[in-house]
């Protein structure tokens, strides 16, 4: 089993739209890999069928068996991280070793406040 690790700069998992998220991906592979993908993406969880959209991918060809890589991704303006009664939207960065499906994932929240938006029922005038 390979060791895969994703760490954000300063351990910051609360970010704002339009910012750049930085971190380090490190790995110690059992076997030689053809490439490693680092993907910035969001996905939904909850009652609805899962939606997944990859925003950006960094592909590292012929990675060494043990290596670290400092990555950075520019974040888009939306969608925000949120959690409701039916749907949650989660932002993440994922490292995928290919061939094979070994992977590591690190989630973070993105919104105007940096916190996940909770959709609580509200009636206002």
């Amino acid at each position: 089993m390979s060791e895969l690790k994703l760490e954000f700069e300063n351990g910051n998992t609360h970010v704002h739209p339009g910012e750049t998220i930085r971190g380090v991906a490190s790995w110690k592979l059992d076997q030689h890999a053809a490439l490693i993908d680092l993907r910035l993406f969001w996905y939904t969880e909850g009652k609805g069928t899962q939606d997944v959209t990859v925003i950006n991918t960094i592909t590292l060809d012929h990675p060494q068996q043990e290596q670290s890589y400092a990555f950075q991704f520019a974040l888009p303006q939306s969608p925000y991280s949120f959690s409701g009664k039916l749907i949650s939207l989660i932002w993440a960065i994922e490292m995928v070793v290919r061939p094979g499906k070994e992977s590591a994932r690190q989630t973070f929240t993105m919104s105007a406040t940096g916190e996940e938006i909770e959709l609580q029922t509200a009636i206002s005038k």
């Binding site: 969880e45 009652k47 959209t53 749907i87 206002s124």
Partner: protein
């Protein structure tokens, strides 16, 4: 499972046929003599019957098989072609089974013909397989609350299995539709159009009848008129009444046609000047020429699906913000909201107009009740008595039909309601902004006794439950904009509302959505109320500097 199972069985049978045809092609050719041939009228056409003699293993054998898959020809001309190809007393070559010399054929069917139809059962297998997979293996997806701990989630977006299945299914639809169009529809349509210029020729009716075809679905009927004519001294026989053959229910129309062409009476047929063996009694293009165009539906569905998948993937590749709400004429982008041109105000359009609702219901009512009416007339014409079982079976269908008619009447009355115009300022709404809404009731606003306007935000999650697609909704934000009974304020007014900063903007993914809208409700006594929803696009908060 049954759907896919039928496909597998048919596919296996077809493969066995192809293998058998290939084996028959290896049978040795032996000289044979045609003893006699004849054309026999059958229930569904005309059969070419042949008897031939050949020698194998030092013995003389007699066989009557022209081709193993041949039963009869649909048209007399086709059977006649065979009779001319294998005239009595002629020397031919037949294929003899080396392991059983009693078995022989005059012609071996090409395995390529059957191979061409192999994709058809594959469509059944594919559809059955996709349903089976989605019902059994993806069932848990509908209720997951946490991602699977194994496997990368992003892989689902990168390796889009759905898109690949879509390409396969729509590709098969396209190929099947295009093949039928090329090999069946276009030749028929061309012949129909060309036959209007064919030469009018005197012919004699040999036989004239309405042919009946019994099947599990009931009896269907077709026109069967056999006639003979001469061109340049040569005699020809044809049974082509029109180019669109086949049979259908109802015999009255066919009887009328047959009565026009009585046996042994002269008639006018139209002969192809380039091929005198080809003739027709009803030349030119007519409304029945629309029937062969039906496979175009397959072609269009296939082409539309493939174009849709191509556009979706292109949009995805170009990094377009596909989860943003699409508005006609407004390009979405990942640019910050404040970088986009801000409209001063925007006039909203109803999410669904009363007219669309009315015509949608009307079409549904016509189709639904039309089917019930056809079923009723078919049952009545069959002379069956109404029993309790039939009555109980039909009751829910009739009840839905009555309900839909009531719905049509209700929506027709709603169509006469006054309509509302809604204008929102600013035109580009973002989280945390204060906005104003102006309304104007067109028509008889005084019929409305109470007007309520509110802004609403809801989650919408779509998922599969078995074979059904279900959408659950949850309203999480209601902002009361106005509630008035004053006739002046009902007719025209303006009110402000505030969108909270700490809530969610509009979001539109294929299965999960956040929908913002303005809902306007007008109470009208003793009449359908005015209920209109206007889609609202709420952008994220302006980006931090």
């Amino acid at each position: 499972l049954i759907f896919g199972g039928i496909g597998v069985v048919v596919f296996v049978l077809m493969v066995k046929e192809v293998i058998r045809d290939r084996a028959m092609q290896q049978w040795p050719k032996v000289a044979c003599t045609i003893q006699h041939t004849k054309i026999e009228p059958k229930q569904d056409g005309y059969a070419f019957e042949v008897s031939y003699r050949y020698k194998a293993d030092g013995k003389t054998h007699v066989n009557t098989t022209y081709r193993t898959d041949y039963r009869e020809s649909d048209h007399y001309a086709d059977a006649e072609k065979l009779a001319r190809r294998f005239p009595a007393s002629s020397q031919q070559q037949c294929f003899v089974n080396p392991s059983n010399p009693d078995e022989a054929v005059l012609e071996v069917q090409s395995p390529a013909k059957m191979s061409a139809f192999l994709p058809l059962p594959l469509v059944f297998i594919l559809i059955g397989g996709v349903f089976f997979y989605s019902v059994w293996f993806r069932r848990d997806r509908s209720s997951i609350t946490a991602p699977s701990p194994t496997g990368p989630i992003s892989e689902r977006a990168v390796n889009s299995t759905g898109a690949r299945i879509g390409i396969l299914v729509f590709g098969i639809f396209f190929i099947v539709g295009a093949s039928i169009m090329v090999f069946w529809t276009i030749p028929i349509e061309r012949k129909m159009l060309a036959s209007s210029h064919w030469r009018a020729t005197r012919c004699k009716i040999l036989s004239s009848r309405v042919r009946s075809h019994d099947s599990d679905d009931g009896t269907t009927y077709s026109v069967d008129i056999l006639y003979t004519y001469k061109v340049n001294g040569a005699s020809y026989t044809s049974d082509c009444y029109s180019f669109v053959g086949g049979s259908s229910s109802g015999s009255a129309g066919k009887v009328t046609v047959v009565q026009q062409y009585r046996t042994n009476r002269p008639a006018t047929c139209y002969v192809n000047p380039d091929n005198p063996a080809e003739a027709v009694l009803k030349p030119g293009w007519s409304a029945e020429g629309l029937l062969p165009l039906i496979p175009a539906v397959f072609l269009l569905v296939g082409a539309g699906g493939l174009i849709g998948i191509y556009k979706y993937r292109r949009r995805k590749r170009s990094g377009e913000n596909i989860w943003a709400i699409k508005r006609p004429g407004v390009e979405t982008s990942i640019a910050a909201p404040h970088m986009m041109p801000i409209q001063k105000s925007i006039t909203l359009k109803p999410a669904q107009t009363a007219r669309v609702r009315f015509f949608g219901l009307l079409i549904f009512a016509i189709v639904w009740n039309g089917f019930i009416a056809i079923a009723y007339f078919v049952w009545r014409n069959s002379g069956s008595q109404l029993d309790i079982c039939t009555g109980l079976f039909m009751t829910p269908f009739v009840a839905v039909g009555i309900g839909v008619v009531i719905g049509v009447i209700y929506s027709l009355l709603a169509l006469m309601n006054p309509s509302a115009e809604i204008e929102v300022t600013p035109g580009q709404l973002t989280l945390g902004t204060q906005a104003s809404v102006r309304w104007l009731i067109n028509g008889r606003a005084n019929r409305i006794t109470k007007l309520t306007i509110r802004v609403e935000a809801r989650e919408e999650a779509t998922y599969q439950r078995g074979t059904r697609t279900t959408t659950d909704k949850n309203v999480f934000q209601i902002i009361a904009v106005t509630e008035t009974s004053s006739p002046m304020q009902i007719a025209r007014g303006e009110a402000k509302f505030q969108i909270a900063a700490n809530t969610m903007h509009s979001f539109n993914a294929p299965h999960n959505k956040i929908i913002w809208s303005i809902k306007l409700a007008g109470e009208i006594p003793n009449w359908p109320d005015l209920m209109t929803e206007y889609a609202l696009e709420v952008q994220p908060t302006e980006a931090r500097s």
